[in-house]
Assembly symmetry: C2
Homo-oligomer: 215 residues x 2
């Protein structure tokens, strides 16, 4: 398992863009946007962790509807124009099958398939984070972004314990009781178990796809 | 049942204090703090509904630990010094037994007992709201406050539908699964059913009373 998630990617709106090698993963895929002289006055900013994930709709390598809605709500209704008072911490948890296979049939997979798949997942995850980081830059709010692997509900709670944000923001599909049995309840779990305040934000009614379990 | 809750009590930090008769309930108990010339520029403020309740500890006519913690978090971490960007909507739901009795044995109650009890509940509820309104005034954030009666989880969701806040903030005792069976789960219900984003905030570990079901 690669541990890209151990490398925190720092972004801020005044920055030098610099590609570097992550000291832990030895990959060159992590880009660090380094801050210039705006460290101290932001130390008291409210640190808002936003969990982001891919859309589940096939052929749709975009943020899920619910995490996009949660992120946009946070900027529009909480951060507003007070960008110096908040810092956004973007956490993306990538889910893989136990044997590391996602969409490839394990019987026919070669070592190259493994490698390609891992690379493609890394790139997908970084593209996802890039989407949100770009939005933060546009608005001028400081942010950090990183990737972890595992079961989203467990990893999110672990990261809350590790990073100690002031607030965790989660998008939710707002599915009914019966639909939830099949698709899991990350937000319900985190409301109970995350050791910080949790804000759950449902999708807008006009954004729900034809199958509500999609996102 | 008196419908004090139908009368919205408006507060702001620049105001005239004026006792008046509520047009619906015909009581003189509602005090209106009227705004002076600061209507329009606040129309776009983020409207944060905070549900507040009494402490369950006997002889303790104060806000519950969890709602006080939720309120203080909201001011400190979200509103911060950006008071003009937010408006606090304080909702207090009073719970009464079906027959209107709270602590009085119905067999021995006279009509005067009824009246006294209702008056005392009204006064308790207004004192509770006053506590929070005073804090808003100190900080300089605009607020509204009102009382409703009924089952808190249902009334809170009804009020969200009626008032359409941008956010609902709820304090939570953060009780475990078995304790919850006995003490109810207002926050869990509202996270699922309230038609707006919901922020749940647990008590601090060092604020939990000897019986965790107390608040």
């Amino acid at each position: 398992m690669f541990s890209l998630g151990d490398c925190l990617v720092n972004y801020a709106h005044e920055h030098v863009v610099r590609a570097h090698t992550c000291p832990k993963t030895k990959t060159g895929l992590v880009h660090s946007y380094l801050r210039i002289g705006e460290g101290d006055e932001r130390s008291e900013a409210t640190r808002v962790m936003v969990a982001v994930n891919d859309s589940t709709i096939k052929g749709h390598p975009h943020p899920s509807i619910s995490c996009k809605r949660a992120f946009e709500w946070t900027l529009e209704k909480m951060v507003r124009s007070n960008t110096g008072d908040f810092k956004i911490l973007l956490l993306h948890v990538q889910v893989l099958d136990e044997d590391g296979f996602d969409e490839v049939d394990s019987v026919y997979a070669s070592p190259e398939d493994f490698r390609d798949m891992r690379e493609s997942n890394k790139v997908k995850g970084l593209h996802l984070l890039e989407f949100f980081v770009k939005k933060c830059h546009e608005i001028g709010v400081g942010c950090e972004a990183w990737i972890k692997k595992g079961d989203p509900k467990d990893v999110i709670c672990q990261e809350v314990r590790r990073v100690r944000p002031d607030l965790l923001v989660l998008g939710s599909r707002g599915l009914g009781r019966f639909q939830k049995v099949f698709v899991g309840t990350v937000s319900a779990f985190c409301v109970k178990h995350a050791e910080c305040p949790v804000l759950t934000i449902k999708r807008n009614a006009d954004e729900i796809p034809s199958d509500p379990a999609d996102d």
